[in-house]
Point group: C2
Chain length 221, copies 2
């Protein structure tokens, strides 16, 4: 019975996600869902992405957190539209939360919508939000063994960001092993090593993202 209940929740989520996706397509908005552990550097990566791409694209951000408006305030301080979702306890975002957040934005004035999911390597993987791509961030201090323990999130991500790359020397992080296991789990996902707060190594990631934004604009009906 529990399985059926979960299935019902997912089916309802996926139907609304499809509505979100059609809405994004009509406006030619590319939507990326950033997932990571707490403190892996989601907001810092978003800020570095904004710095790299704000002259080329109109960007907006939806921030998901259990509580607080800390992240949305950080984004808004840079003059970027930011909507905060407080899940009130839920460990992931769902498509109806995204719908309500998107209702407050003018999609025709946005090229790139970045969703920051709740800090969690497990729950967000199962929930389609209507985004074009899920991307995950692992930070070096978390350790190179995380793909063994949380394989699902590595498998659903179209790209993997390895953040806090400047601390590889501080921690016992085996980057070759990390890249090898990620490749086994998801052969098509590029791994972008960068240090978001220092702005180092960001370009390969932002150019990959820019190519996806262009593709979304090209297919706009």
């Amino acid at each position: 019975m529990q399985v059926d209940i979960a299935k019902g929740i997912l089916e309802k989520n996926d139907a609304l996600a499809e509505e979100n996706r059609e809405r994004f397509a009509r406006s030619g908005v590319f939507v990326v869902d950033l997932m990571a552990s707490p403190g892996a550097g989601k907001t810092s990566t978003i800020l570095a992405t904004i710095a790299a791409l704000r002259d080329r694209y109109r960007i907006a951000v939806i921030e998901g957190d259990i509580a607080s408006r800390v992240d949305a305030e950080k984004i808004a301080a840079h003059g970027i539209p930011a909507v905060q979702i407080n899940t009130g306890g839920a460990c992931h975002l769902e498509s109806d939360m995204i719908k309500r957040a998107v209702d407050t934005l003018d999609l025709d004035e946005i090229d790139l919508l970045i969703i920051e999911n709740v800090g969690n390597l497990v729950c967000p993987t199962d929930f389609d939000l209507g985004e074009h791509a899920k991307v995950m961030i692992l930070s070096v201090p978390e350790g190179h063994d995380k793909p063994y323990k949380y394989p699902g999130i590595f498998q659903v991500s179209e790209a993997v960001i390895l953040n806090k790359h400047d601390t590889v020397g501080v921690f016992d992080f085996d980057e070759a092993e990390f890249r090898s296991v990620v490749h086994d789990l998801n052969p098509n996902a590029p791994v972008f090593a960068l240090s978001a707060t220092k702005g180092e190594g960001v370009e390969a990631w932002t150019e990959w993202l820019a190519a996806r934004v262009e593709a979304a604009k090209a297919v706009q009906p």
Copy 2:
């Protein structure tokens, strides 16, 4: 209706947790549930705790992970009984998983049972496993703003470990602010700053834990 379902699951969990608790009490075992983000250093903290207390107490460990036996193997390599639970996707442990793991252990031969929960700052907070104390670990690289974003886990924890404390200088971690916010959320929880992999600062934490182990033995029927 969803609320009722969730309530039913929690009620079932709590009833089994009570059975676990009575079982632990009969054997005079103190049980601690360690919660943290992925990569915060749960296993390293357990290994440092084992090193400090193994001459005084008989210790066993239950390892919870979505997948893999990596952590149980690390513990077992030190000659400590270790049971691995793979949740197969679930983002937290539940009391029935603990019951089944405990069935494989001889509780009368154990003084201290350490449970490592799934790496997650959200889901484990709501689930009573029958443990005597929940303790959380935050690692310095995760950032001092985490109590704002994940207040629940700080509120349910009887102690807070601040791990990777040797990297305070590497990251922009405001320890005074962190301690202040934790104190506001949970005035009775001590904060133990330590570096588990280096074995630094471990004693205050292990002495707190040892006092709790002694208390559990003292009330054994």
